[in-house]
Amino acid sequence: MRAALALALLLAACGTARDLDRLKDLNAAGDLAAIAATPVDCTGPADAACLQAREIKANACLRLGTATLAPGSGRAAEAPANFDCAITNYRAALAAGPQPLPAAERARLAAGLLLALRERRDQARNAAEAVPLNAALAEEAARTRAAVPASALGFHYGAAAAYARAVLGPEAALARCPPLGEAQHLLARAPEPDAGLAPALAALARAVATERRRFACP
């Protein structure tokens, strides 16, 4: 029985390595669709090859989803599925690596996952669909803040989720000011962002401030 289990694990590892090599080749060729179509079913844990394979697939799905949203692409309907693919694979990558993950690796994967969650939320067609997706974004942002407190990522996406919660509510100060206040609080607590995130963080701060002025929030 033990021998059979070890053999199965060995074969699985060999399969992941083969998948990773193929994904790397496709990634080098820029064939995002082929990467997205490649099945990756490893789960880890402590499997570096699996983490890489999942991350490559998640990145490809995210880029595909963003591309389908370009005006005139005619494939906007595919966007939610692509973002779901990205979310699933980023989460799998986070679980596949050694636990706990080094902070830099955790932050890199969290950046992709949070962006995919936000993009997926933005594909909601109504408030009922948007609210749980937005809540998922808020939860992941909170986990990121706890896991990588030195990164501004969790604060930025937490504030973005709070801002969306305000906008998804009725146009009244009573409904909007509390989440806007939460967003402002998170932005104020955010550590110094890196150069890539700084413009987004500043822009979100301006948007929050504009809405707070609009509803005369205290």
């Binding site: 949203l69 906007a76 594909q123 067609r125 822009a203 809405e211």
Partner: protein, 509 residues
Amino acid sequence: MPACLLALLLLPSPVLAQQLIVGGAAGAAAPDTAWIVGGGIGLILALLATLIVLLHRSMRRSAEWCGEPLPGANAADVQEARLRAFALVHGMPLGVPEGTVRACIGLFIIILGVAAIVFQRQLGLGTTGELAGLLGTVLGFYFGTRSTSGDRDAAREAARAVAERTADAASAHRRADAALAREGEIRAEAARAAERDAKARVTLASAERIASNARAIAEAVAAVAPDLPLARTAARVTTLADRALVAARSAATDAGAVAEAASRASALVAEISGDDPLAELVSAAAGGLSGALGGAPGLLATVGGPLGLAGAVLTGAAAAFRIGTEHYRRWVARVLDRPYGLDLYPEGLSDAATALAALEVSPIFRRVYGETILAPRDLAAARALLAAALSPEAAALVPAGSGALRPAPVGEGSGFATTIELEEGIHQFRRAVLERILDQTDSTPVTVPLPTGPIAVPQPALRAAVDAAREDRGGAAALDHLAIAGAKLAREPGVDIAASLARAVKETT
């Protein structure tokens, strides 16, 4: 002693001398011989006296010559030289060179002694022993005195040396004083030269700054209105400014020509100051804005009049540029109402929540998309609307629909009534989005440096005034000119807009 001297004086008459010395009568002697001897002796004495007189006069003349005024010598030097000559002559025996008197006396004694011995019989001298003794005593006294006076001579010599050294020291002191005075004059002259040089350099720096300023302004204005007469003024100012800059910078390589370069550069700058193309541009734009906003005096007052609005557009553009290139592009896009794309937006802002919030405050889009996007909170459609509205092809993409954005054809019931309404709707939506991404620093008023004092133009008032001015063709043209000039000038951080505004005020009043 007086008797000895008297005897010495009576030597030409030996009989009388013998009677005086020994008290006896002189022996009988041939009177002719005695007179010959006496005459000879007298002649010798006269010759010696003459020699002494001549020597004395020679010495005096020499001393006086030494004290004659010399070219370039001052009165004190001449006086000192004369005193030294007088002291020199005064220190000599009878005013003749040292040893002359002794030589004369020695000669006289030898002659007298030889004559007395040779003519002993003719003179009737029984013996010459007393005479020899007397002469020996006198000679011994004289030469003894002269020999003992060696110390006195040495002392006198030492005193003279001291006096000379004192005089030398005094002279050296005066020369040192004169040298110090000259050094002071040289230092004062050097300080004056340094002050003149520093003033010239300040003038040069000022001229260079003004010329650079004028050149940047002229280039900006020339770019704004290449076909207007203003461009000729700008070209002339550019040429003058270039010449002034060359003059100002030539001094850097030729230190001796600083004053000349400063003078030349100042003259050119004075010539430049007569023409300020930016002042002319602002003045002309103020005229256009005054006409455009003539019906809204209250609005005009909030921005400090036409000149305040013109200055606010110029300085606002420059201030936005200093915040950052992207911010500046957004500011100018808003003032000029130019189309802009998603490249103006920081990554991450173009999310659906922002689009939904902007849609809420855009009246035309809200009417068109209120039920389909706002009511259900359709984030996907809001996101698609954002992408379409911020595209350069917005006028085609928005009514056609894209992805989650449903079509809203122009002229159909649920869409836009006209193309104008569509364009106005896009304009409103873009402005609402821009409102949410402008830097918070834009909430601070634009400070316009008018000659009457700086005024603070609030951003909302500025936007309202710009909107109103754009309704008029002349006002729109004036704003375009100002915005383009502001865009050009914003790239020149050292440009002084205040001076041009002050000139524009003078031109318009």
